[in-house]
Symmetry: D2
Subunit: 477 residues, 4 copies
């Protein structure tokens, strides 16, 4: 069966402007033709959808999400054996939010691949997933790389199982190996079905805010070569100007959160390498409003970090680096969302300025980069074509062109007239099929309502139970 969308302004992502009154003909999941309705050869059984006055853009993409971002012992125990369900829920939240393809850059490989394949086979509705599994060199969720308190609280049996599930053969022990040894492990891991390789140029965190280097320059080159030999892209987690430079020089296809380099701005030498080397850059920007709020609650020193990250965003754009939308987007369980730090989006920003929410953070990204001066069409490309190119899936995705997969978002308002208009989602079409947005997520787990409080909870007076001292009483625990 075929589908014909008529009457809309089509912003195909190829040309710089939208064109009014075009129709898009879709068959077998792909775009057959885009043109004046009278120019199109429309089969008999075609369903015609009139979207007059709307705006059709390529399906949005996200270069960095974590469909299973939860590292909480509680969540991982509660959904033990159901991680695929959590990933499916997140893939549906993403799709509902206009993202027809997401790149999962850290998570449990087996479960991610299983959901990816079910979606690819049409057994499950959801955003198209491409995934890296573990970040090469990082330890599991219950480790100093993420939450180092848990090995002392969870059972060894579960802690080890979870960590092994995430890490497999790619954890911290790779730091002890020769570059060749690292290469062997990466090759093994590639053989397990990941879609691209992500590795740590800098460490994730732990003792020094992520500034250590995880792999030497030689080891990084070996990792990238292994990825390219396997025909997939390679990317790096970076956090310092040296970590960034090394990753770019090692031949990475993209670098993550390239603007986050601590208090030091990216040197000109490195900025100038992005374009010639064809290395794309995801950035994590703040909106101006977010910056204003943040500045009030942090130290002068911390502000230098945010100031540098802002300057880096602008400089990367100016240097002609291919910029990608990305936000570490993920969803937390409702009870986790009540925890003060997470309720406060880590940095004290309100929900509508928080970058890392899966359902909304990409809209924040678009507004933030609009404020930093990116042209409207470049914003669109950062969320579509650039990502497709960086991940080398641009034969199928990223623009509205005949022959490409029919991933589209229909908006009520013109996105080229304001980034805020990306939120005016009217419809989402994925693989040529109109998505029933209201039905998503089909099986709310993390996003389900919490059970009502027990009667006894009201009487249980926490302050008197949890061992706090009386106010005014000296001493520590």
């Amino acid at each position: 069966m075929s589908l014909l969308l008529t009457g809309a302004t089509v912003i195909d992502g190829v040309t710089d402007d939208g064109v009014d009154g075009l129709a898009i003909l879709v068959r077998d999941g792909r775009i057959v033709a885009i043109g004046r309705p009278d120019e199109l050869d429309v089969p008999e059984d075609t369903e015609v959808v009139d979207v007059s006055g709307k705006f059709i853009i390529p399906g949005l993409m996200n270069a960095n999400v974590h469909l299973l971002i939860n590292i909480f012992l509680e969540t991982l125990v509660r959904y033990d054996g159901r991680y695929e369900d959590l990933i499916a829920e997140a893939a549906q939240v993403a799709l509902k939010s206009g993202m027809t393809t997401v790149f999962d850059t850290w998570g449990p490989r087996r479960a991610l691949q299983a959901v990816r394949d079910r979606i690819d086979r049409g057994e499950l509705v959801g955003s198209r997933i491409r995934c890296a599994g573990n970040i090469i060199g990082f330890d599991g969720p219950f480790s100093p790389d993420f939450d180092g308190r848990i090995p002392g609280v969870g059972t060894g049996h579960f802690v080890d199982r979870v960590n092994a599930t995430w890490v497999e053969n790619t954890g911290r022990h790779l730091m002890w190996l020769t570059p060749e040894g690292v290469g062997d492990e990466v090759r093994d891991y590639l053989g397990r079905g990941i879609d691209f390789v992500k590795y740590g140029s800098n460490e994730h965190g732990g003792t020094s805010a992520g500034a250590f280097l995880q792999f030497s320059e030689r080891a990084q080159r070996v990792i990238v070569e292994e990825a390219h030999r396997a025909g997939v892209t390679a990317q790096a987690h970076t956090g310092t100007v040296e970590g960034l430079r090394i990753a770019v020089e090692a031949g990475c296809d993209l670098v993550q959160h390239a603007n986050m380099t601590g208090p030091t701005e990216i040197p000109q030498e490195t900025l100038e390498q992005f374009a010639p080397k064809g290395c794309a850059a995801t950035v994590f920007p703040l909106t101006d409003h977010g910056r204003d709020i943040l500045k009030k609650s942090i130290t002068d020193f911390e502000w230098t970090i945010w100031a540098a990250s802002d300057t880096n965003c602008r400089n990367l754009v100016d240097a002609g680096a291919k910029i990608l939308l990305a936000n570490d987007g993920g969803i937390f369980a409702r009870e986790v969302m009540q925890e003060p730090m997470i309720a406060a989006t880590w940095n004290g920003l309100p929900e509508d300025e928080a970058l890392n929410r899966l359902a909304t953070g990409h809209f924040v990204w678009l507004r933030a980069m609009e404020e930093k001066g990116m042209a409207p069409i470049e914003l669109l490309r950062a969320a579509t074509r650039n990502i497709a190119e960086a991940y080398q899936v641009d034969d199928d995705l990223g623009t509205l062109e005949a022959g490409k997969i029919a991933d589209m978002v229909v908006l009520d308002a013109n996105p080229l007239q304001g980034a805020k208009n990306y939120q005016s989602i009217h419809a989402v079409i994925k693989g040529g099929v109109m998505v029933d947005l209201d039905a998503l997520p089909e099986q709310p787990l993390l996003t389900a309502e919490l059970p009502a409080a027990l009667e006894e909870e009201a009487r249980y007076k926490r302050p008197l139970h949890h061992g706090e001292r009386l106010p005014g009483c000296p001493g520590h625990h």
Copy 2:
């Protein structure tokens, strides 16, 4: 239908010796008659079971178990919403081990009562449960009374819900109240359906090995009075000689682990109050073999504690206190059982000398007290009649007498000729019904086998991942 057990030696717990060749006639769950087979008036439809050469004793009881002893965040999350299933499993493990009635002295009240009632109504096979719910004055599982690390790791939502579920209106805040205020809360709690009241005379633990007093002498008297006014028994958790004395003087019907009084032996004055006041004493004894093992691994000071606890056991017997079998018996999940401290039964004792295992600890108790000189028939009574009397259920339970509920254990070997013979369980009859021991537990959860290791677990090398230092490297974390 009726049941006739024939040919066995019957040790009824009333007289001091067993009598050979008696038959026991059971109908409608109760014992109709015990006598020579030819003296009995046996109905037509009676099922006759020949247990010649066996020994029939009253169903064993346990004055202190915890059918849901798990305080591990992991376990309580994993079985969230299924606590009744865990309790049912434990009640079946207890029954399989010969215990037809157990007294649960700390646990989640609602779930315990629900399982109790299902068993009482015959909907579920399991040991008969009578329960106290929370120990009045104690905080919940995720608190300094049990595991004070969890409030910093679990979500506030879950931590509060679990604590409230255990504590309801009876937690630490009662320490702030007047005795009358404490009485009001106890009365309220009694109205919720508990079978007896347990309160803290000493605290559970925390900062001083349990030596603080939880309630004043006046408050303890008020608590006991409230229990008695409601027609139920009262008991105390004690841990020091003063905590013990106060509880006995307050009118408790029984005191728990009366022999555990730290490094100080119970004074003669207190010993002499048990019998006249009709206060029963549970004790937690070690076997001689257990003591030998323990002594090697502890400090001299710790040994004074164990030495005092041993002397207390003997002195309580000598003072004529009514001694009850009890052991804090409970079951842990398999993965929890792998944790070193729990695998080592907390004190480094091997499994077959460990008191607190639900399925076997009562056998250890019997052997231990046999070694301390209790007469064979007194051992039996400690595990049957004494408990029934102390909990005031001796109209129905505790001995083999016409009119009582037909709870019986059939042993292959004579328990009066060696406490080890209690383990030779041939059959268990509860309420006149032969229990299918092989079928228990019907739904293994905590006792189920663990899933096989994942392939990746073998490659995940824990020592290199969990942040330990290289051997020989100075510094702390």
Copy 3:
């Protein structure tokens, strides 16, 4: 030599009003006579000091100070071997602030007694000290009663030595003993030269905000009896309504911070026992301004505690309890004073509303109780005669009467016309000697200026060194 003070208004603490124009004649450290100058028989060699227009009151006293309040590992290491010097410094700070006698209710006994004796012998200038040594039942500074983190950080050698120095034979192990056993230890401790006995009715802190009971009612009676048998007074640290009631009933001569009873107000029954039993009550009041500030930063529940403490203050006054000024006053090292919690006076109050500063807290106390309605003369007595009576040193101290020790404070403004006038100290006379206030403390240690910052400190950027994560980065340590 003799001293004659002339021209002042004398507020002797006996009568309810001040009398203008009286002279006070002092010889050999005691008051010889008070009267009209022309009525006095003044020896030849008398030094005459004209204090016309001033106000003379008895030397101020404080019923609860801690001359060595530091429990910081750093401070106790730094001044190891010099604790007497720290106590001397504090005694001089106290004297400079108008307190001619202070009762130290917790500290290292040997050092306190040594300084006490040097001051008594006239070898050292300082406030007269009377001390309790350890609080019977409490553990040392490096324990859960005070700072439970230190045993894991300090060497066992030093941790044990400090704790033993404070605790000697009177620590937490007394909780394991029978009342008679506790009595033996108290008697032993009394033999070491303490001036009065202080014990814990409630615990100091730790797991339950101080609500546990440290000793049974019987044990408390034994402790009080031992003190009285030795001819000294007894007092209790209390924190709950039951802890307070038991202490009063046990025959204590005074109870500390009687108004701090958690969220529960003192019952009428207990209030009514103070006066007939002759039990004095120290209270820790807040000023109205302090209360306003505090309310903004605490939870509703915490406010119920402060509200109850306020009501208790008023009710104790109304019930005719003998009220004593007390404030846990002590001094911290300058670097400790920079620690946020201590800089914020534990509760976020500004310095001039903070009760527990040694040099100023007693002035806060007087203003706070004035606000709560105490009559001006009763305020004075709370700071002088009442304390002398409660500690049974009123033969010598507490009022201006012939025969008593000549401890006096000369004020510029009339204290009966406003509690704030107590701060207008013109002169302090102790034992008949005019104190050189400007010279105190003679050897500033804790109150000394900190050394200037090193050049390198400016460049050492703490946020980047101490392992904090980059802002915005998920994960815990």
Copy 4:
């Protein structure tokens, strides 16, 4: 004045054998001549010392000591302001143990330089010191690089001051900088008077057993260039095969503990670079006896680390790398030495097999490398000439040759006949002066006897005070 040593076997470190019966003539601190006594031109005022039957070797050197190794809050507080005294004490302990020159590779720069200069000027007796100050890139003693618990326990004032004192401008923030930025800081630091540069190729510790890379290859080259430009040597702290390779390739003059590369043996490629690049290697070997003991107490995985370190030692020797004696030698305060982990020399080895004791560890080193097959004369050179060459002080030190500084050790037994003979120290001559060994250390601080226990310590029963639970009681803190 001159000194003539006669009658000994002289092992000059240049030739491969000792020569009997030579005399050594010393004047003005240097060796004037070595030869047959009758060949020497001996001035009149020469003091002649007959050391017939003894063995004279060059003064021993140590390529890696820490004269102030204490990172304990307690020690650094106790000796605040006296760090020079601690360093002086350690320099005297070193000298007494035969080490006439030591290279301090991590410590507080100002204090080290001050003591160094006093010794150089002859104002203080002690081993000659050459020092690096901080390890470039490492944070201070109270940080995750050493003891990350202290910032939560010490005052911010002291913690910052100590860290700044060690770190100055060279701490972890350098990881954020560009290589040029790192170079600027190193140049600045060189200007402060250090004798050589040490930097982290791998991190010190923290979250991953030291496997992270601290600096990129480019940054390491810049650091080495800055050192060489300033005319001093450069060295690296390494811990992985990549960290080691990068340091050697960056042009380091020596690498520390080159044999410690975790579970991975050094690849042949790297081994082969040492000799041509003139990079010396310190190694930390175990004796066979130490290895036997260690193996019993560690896991199989940990053993792979020690096995690799042993293989590395042998392979480095075989590859012709210049091997240097080094041991992280330092002294801890007596009370610190009582702490279980330190008393057990970190790894459970007995004192006489422990490498890192300042007074004895170099003897362990010599025995251990003898066992691994180093020739006797090479052992001597590892402890003398090789070190002098690696640190480029061989014009003055390292062998017994006319013109060199007269640093010598006189042994009772022949070191070429067994490494154990190095312990038979008869005399030490430094700069031509006979050292009075019995007088060292002149001012024992860390090595002083502890004060006797207080009477009260015996009664203070730690197990009952420190909040441990009763044995057998479930729950965690």
